[in-house]
Amino acid sequence: NAGVTQTPKFRILKIGQSMTLQCAQDMNHNYMYWYRQDPGMGLKLIYYSVGAGITDKGEVPNGYNVSRSTTEDFPLRLELAAPSQTSVYFCASSYLPGASEAFFGQGTRLTVV
């Protein structure tokens, strides 16, 4: 009964480094999302996917890339990490698009120094 699993839980990156945040769901949901939450702020959508092979930008996509080769996995790639990308990242999935209940992972706390 895993739901949405994110790895790693914590990571410290140096400026200019790259990394991939992993996200997997076992609920056979077509819709998957990546959000970031900055301190004292609400969640902002980075990218979303409506199914394997289909992705699109959200509100704050700059500096990130995604891919969706399978229904289960939706990795988020950070290229050339910058301090502005210090945040908590949440992956989510849902059975229906945006307006339905989304299931969230536990989050990845990323610090760029």
Partner: protein, 115 residues
Amino acid sequence: DQQVKQNSPSLSVQEGRISILNCDYTNSMFDYFLWYKKYPAEGPTFLISISSIKDKNEDGRFTVFLNKSAKHLSLHIVPSQPGDSAVYFCAASAISGAGSYQLTFGKGTKLSVIP
């Protein structure tokens, strides 16, 4: 420009009393609203939702009220319990159109229920 506003960063309530969390929105295209609850070091969990065709939705101790003319919704928790202490996020979506995949979140209200 914030389209979903939760103007109270925090709220303290005595156990057993009613908690009322408020949310305002500016985008008239929003037609679906959700509340999420978040504990520290965990992801948000869905609590309750309401469609714009309704003005009230109830689930156990949780009731959400929607006032479309005022672009305002509120979450009532009765009675409040210490386990309700968490950050509550209001979120909004447009069911159709370009924004239908996107949830717009407020900044959250931290509820503390005092035993």
